[in-house]
């Protein structure tokens, strides 16, 4: 008896023959007769199967060709942030009962996923100061774009005003989402008026330069034009800074990655989405609600589903289906572990360390910190040389430098500092920058 070729497929040759006989056919070919014969069983030009040992060696070799953070000190941010991830988070997310379950369409056998989702929604409301939240979107930028579409539905207006301090990548995704819906996107500065028919003002705080925006004034400005305010916020910053809820923002979105999610080269992440209670029935995505069972016990279900594609089809609030529940679990576990005090302390550590770095870099000849006003996580530095050149040199000191912003600011580099950057790392960066800056 030959052994199976795949460890993932249990059927032996005997099993197959017994089953084919039960089906009433003699071979597999009899089950694919609807497929045009000329195209049946094509040769696949992909590589042959690897043993698990060889597989781990091959992927390990690929991984070793990447400069992993930890081995390198990292001062990159601009949308994704390196923070400490407690061991408990990694342990919980590895549980197969969470990892290998589907979207909780059968609530009686998905109370684990559903209760976690309810905790997730609750925590987002707490950190943002908003009244309701959904169970998660793909990532921060797509949540932000969905926020604009939601504002258009609510106001029945078709113009979206975007502040010019919003990260260009976010604006590009908004363009892709809004393009075919007859929505016009207008970029405005802080001093400009909103277009008369604006559905919303899109705000990012901290903005693309790391600066905390005056969300309250901006929300007021939007409301004065009959528009809504949609803010993309940095959730870590809310350990210290004023919440969008306190600023009367209508729709709040965020990239949740900073809260316990590995950087993982850009994904998977989780988009946070919250709003005022009056708008909840216009939200995109899954929403989990608390209810009771036939014995009166508390339990959780997917709710307000008549907004969604599987019920409403072409009239749904969004096409989103599979989202990022597992990444939501990572975030929920992270916030549970760091808790009330830790949430505040992580923000304060980031604040002090980033400001220390900014002060030290600003002292260097040839470098000047351009960020003016309160900032969080990151700040703009004008460098004496092109940032790409500086970053190449920093690699030799095992440092991954800041984000190259020379496309929007002369020799601009956005330097990010979080609680994982030790003073020794910051001092090494400052020293390396001074050495590199001094070389003609």
């Amino acid at each position: 008896m030959p052994t199976n070729i795949s460890p993932y497929i249990p059927n032996t040759q005997d099993d197959r023959e017994l089953m084919l006989a039960a089906i009433g056919v003699s071979c597999i070919d009899d089950l694919v007769l609807d497929i045009p014969e000329a195209h049946r069983f094509p040769k696949l030009d992909i590589r042959p199967a690897l043993s698990e040992f060889d597989l781990t060696a091959e992927i390990g070799a690929l991984a070793s060709r990447n400069a992993a953070l930890g081995e390198y000190a990292c001062f990159l941010g601009a949308g994704a942030y390196r923070h400490y991830i407690p061991s408990v988070v990694k342990s919980v997310v590895a549980r197969g009962e969470f990892l290998t379950s589907y979207t909780p369409y059968q609530p009686e056998v998905a109370q684990g996923t559903l209760q976690v989702g309810f905790e997730f929604q609750s925590m987002i409301c707490e950190i943002t100061g908003m009244e309701v939240a959904n169970a998660g979107m793909y990532d921060g930028p797509t949540a932000f774009a969905e926020g604009a579409l939601m504002a258009c539905r609510i106001t029945r207006r078709q113009t979206v005003a975007v502040l010019d301090t919003v990260e260009p990548r976010n604006a590009q995704i908004l363009d892709a989402y809004a393009r075919h819906q007859g929505i016009e996107i207008v970029v405005i500065g802080h001093g400009d008026d909103l277009p008369d028919d604006a559905a919303c003002l899109m705000i990012q705080s901290p903005n693309q330069f790391g600066v905390i925006e005056d969300m309250e004034a901006l929300a007021d400005k939007a409301h004065a034009s009959g528009a809504l305010s949609v803010a993309s916020i940095n959730p870590t910053s809310l350990g210290m800074f004023r919440t969008p809820g306190e600023c009367d923002v209508d729709i709040v979105t965020a990239e949740g990655q900073a809260l316990g999610v590995p950087l993982s080269f850009g994904g998977p992440y989780v988009g946070l989405f919250a709003c005022k209670d009056i708008h909840k029935r216009q939200m995109p995505g899954r929403i989990i609600g608390r209810t009771t069972d036939t014995k009166g016990r508390v339990g959780y279900v997917l709710t307000l589903q008549t907004r969604e594609q599987h019920i409403r089809r072409e009239r749904a609030t969004s096409n989103i289906c599979t989202s990022t529940a597992l990444i939501g679990l990572l975030m929920t576990t992270y916030l549970a572990v760091i808790g009330r005090a830790g949430f505040k302390k992580v923000a304060e550590l980031c604040y002090h360390k980033a400001h220390y770095a900014a002060i030290e870099i600003d002292k260097l000849p040839g470098y000047s910190v351009k960020t003016d006003g309160p900032f969080f996580h990151e700040f703009m530095v004008e460098c004496p040389k092109p940032p790409a050149e500086i970053n190449r040199a920093l690699i030799d000191s095992k440092i991954i430098g800041g984000h190259d912003m020379s496309d929007r600011s002369n020799n601009g580099m956005l330097i990010c500092v979080t609680e994982v950057n030790t003073r020794a790392e910051i001092d090494a960066l400052v020293y390396a920058l001074s050495e590199i800056g001094a070389v003609r």
Binding site: I5, S6, I9, P10, N11, R16, L18, M19, A22, I23, I28, D34, I35, H39, F41, P42, D45, I46, P48, L55, I59, L62, P86, V92, R95, G96, T100, S101, T103, Q115, Y138, Q172, A176, M240, L263, S264, F265, G266, G267, P268, R290, D293, G299, T303, L304, H310, R313, E314, N319, L326, I327, L329, T333, V337, G339, A341, Y351, H352, N391, E419
Partner: protein, 494 residues
Amino acid sequence: MKVPFPGEIDRRLLNERSVSGRIGLQLQEIDVPEQPFPDAGLLRSVEARLPEVSQPEVVRYFTTLSAMNFSIDTNFYPLGSCTMKYNPKVNEEMAFLPGMAGIHPNQPDETVQGALQLIWELQQDLGEITGLPAVCLGPLAGAQGEYSGLMIAQAYFQDQGDFNRTIALMPDSAHGTNPASAAMAGLEVVTVPSDSAGNVDVEALRGLVDQRTCVFMLTLPSTLGLFEPNILEITNIVHEVGGLVYADGANLNALLGIVKLGDLGFDIAHSNLHKTFSTPHGGGGPGAGPVLVSETLASYLPTPVVDRNGDTYRFAAPDKTVGRVNGFHGSFGVLVRAYAYIRAVGAEGMREVSENAIINANYIRTALAEEFGIAADRVCMHECVLSPQAQKAKGVSALDISKRLIDYGIHPPTMYFPLIVPEALMVEPTETETKDTLDRFIAVMRQINKEIDSDPDLLHDAPHDTPNTRLDEANAARHPYLRWQPDDDLTAVD
């Protein structure tokens, strides 16, 4: 389901366990001079009411919650159209290697050559498997792959100076995301009926296509689990009027090494890596929904894609790209898992996967056809759709049968979909289940069928032993209670 705990399960939320002063993590001390805080007006005035719980409490809380889930690791999970196959453990380990999980999306290309090579190889492999050679791995789930594909179709026609292609055709059996994505892409949805055999009604399709047809979106095999016998004629009909044909790849698990979408005349497709390519669903994502197109459409793909030049890899934007659909380069962690899967399965193994998926589904179909009825009873591909109308006539619904399956430790099939089948129960066993498991499922279904006559309330009241019996979904929607509130705030909930 056997409840793993005696007595009542403690369902209190974290905040209901919170005790002031407890911490779950010791954070490091500050090692730089403290800087002055900004004005108080910029700071939050009320602390976030996050829980104060110790580490052992956190671990026990989440572990207890996890035990209330059915999952592939613990249960047979024949949820149709979702391809709940085994998720190999080695893939998890690979995705969490420091060189994979610990790299920043904004790192310069020269510092992430291994990651870029992996993306490039996966682009190649998926292109080869589907016969649609140009691939962008960016889209974050199937629905985003669909939207990307529809943007590509629109950009292509606009480039041709053809601005009248405003209609997306799709069968009445389509997934809900198809019409939702089409609406988002500004297209008018027109439904093509199915014929009595469960296939696309070819004559009806012929009557519906014209110069306004942008795309025909088709799931293959269909959501009835059937391969369209007239597929070449169908793609030809759409091409004759200048339209494009889109494949919803949700059911690609039936086609690996069996047939290539590109060979059948499809122009655009998406593939759900969290279905066919074994990456875990995680209770509702993350997924990945790469978009795959013919050479003709390659230059419209979303940005970025990875190009190879000799031994060097770099991110690039296709010439006429439809733009960016997500924050960075896609669900990289999911891509690593899918790559590991393809490398472990290999060229030969691909066909094994689909053949066994097809055999397993037909084994169940043949065994249950007589008692439960099958929508369009003929050879199926990777899934079959039961239609228990005789049982419904006795007062027992597809929902009741589903809930009773839970009592036997089996996750219910997909219920009431496709919409065109009365009392639909869509069963997809996948190739990773043993014959023993299938035999037990068949035996349980037959037992349930007997219970319908002997004690129908066993079904009406099911499930019995789960942490919750049936939940009041109507009340949940009527009185949305969507977040934790302290007891004294409960009046604020509407």
